[in-house]
């Protein structure tokens, strides 16, 4: 049976590798992908959406609906992990005779690890904010910034313990924040609608706030990226808390 599986995998892999020969050449301008919609994005995105970074213009403006629903997917994933993993039991119920020398608990005692983590966490958070704020101009954006922010929190939880981490963001707070991010994103879309334009057409926001179109777009993209970052940060933190504490979100690590 194992040999049969191996043969099937090898044949499928070879077929996939063979298919790549039919692909268009690297950077070929005559392919359908680079003939129709890409040319429009490259030529018009700056004047239509006033966003210097084309990737952000596509993700945040042309396909803002898509990005909003992706944010909802992340929110739903966090919620699903909560429903599957969360238990009402405490850790004592799960492991009645917890061994005294649990190697993981030593992590909370090490002064060097704690000090290094405390030094680096603000820097990581600052970098996360930088990535979030510069999504308009350079690679980055809400998703990456939010993940870096969540990584800083996970470093805190790993280097100290879950109690310290929960003091900085309780379970309730992470749930509320993950919902607030989606609400912020959709709310920007609705606010744009009140000015008589389409859902998530950021020109409307510029009209309401009385700023130029470029400023309005940049402001709206910062706001929706903040919404994405809130949801991603909170959902990832929630999943980590559930995974690392047997679903009790009390101790662990």
């Amino acid at each position: 049976m194992k040999k049969l599986t191996l043969a099937a995998v090898v044949i499928a892999g070879l077929l996939l590798a063979l298919t790549t020969l039919d692909f268009p050449r690297w950077g070929d301008p005559q392919t359908p992908a680079s003939m129709h919609v890409s040319a429009r994005f490259i030529e018009k995105s700056l004047e239509e959406m006033a966003t210097p970074n084309i990737v952000t213009a596509v993700l945040g403006d042309y396909r803002a609906f898509d990005t909003m629903l992706e944010t909802i997917v992340v929110f739903t994933a966090g919620l699903a992990c909560f429903f599957i993993l969360r238990t009402r039991m405490t850790r004592e119920d799960l492991e009645p005779a917890a061994p005294e020398n649990d190697p993981l608990d030593l992590a909370g005692e090490d002064l060097v690890i704690k000090t290094v983590a405390r030094t680096f966490i603000p820097l990581i958070q600052l970098f996360g904010l930088y990535v979030l704020a510069h999504g308009h101009y350079s690679p980055g954006g809400g998703f990456q910034g939010g993940v870096i922010f969540a990584a800083a929190y996970i470093l805190l939880a790993v280097s100290h313990d879950m109690k310290t981490a929960l003091r900085h963001m309780s379970e309730r707070a992470s749930h509320l924040l993950s919902a607030a991010g989606v609400l912020l994103f959709a709310g920007i879309g609705v606010i744009c609608m009140t000015n008589g334009v389409n859902f998530l057409d950021y020109g409307g926001l510029a009209g309401i706030l009385g700023m130029s179109l470029a400023t309005g777009h940049s402001f709206a993209i910062l706001l929706i990226e903040s919404g994405v970052a809130l949801t991603v940060t909170a959902a990832l933190i929630m999943i980590f808390k559930l995974l690392s504490s047997h679903g009790t979100v009390q101790e662990g690590f």
């Binding site: 993981l104 990456q144 980590f240």
Partner: protein, 81 residues
């Protein structure tokens, strides 16, 4: 990027992928998967997709490795098969 480096990175990707599914220790598998993600990130970078590379580095090599490690520490390091 120099094509020799790209080829070397591609070979490391293949080795990591095969090793991650054959290794018996789940902790090792998680770490190998992180290495695989990081090498994928280098490949995205070589193809000029900086945004994708950034996301791969943050999600694949960063957070998902942390999730794997958390799950391994709370369950078991041994695989059954």
């Amino acid at each position: 990027m120099i094509w020799e480096i790209k080829l070397a990175v591609l070979l490391v990707i293949l080795v990591c992928a095969v090793a991650a599914i054959t290794v018996r220790d789940l902790l090792g598998a998680g770490i190998l998967f992180g290495a695989y993600s990081f090498m994928m990130c280098l490949q995205w970078l070589a193809m000029g997709a900086v945004d994708v590379a950034f996301t791969e580095a943050a999600i694949g090599a960063g957070i998902s490795t942390a999730f794997f490690l958390a799950a391994v520490f709370r369950t078991t390091r041994r695989t059954k098969d």
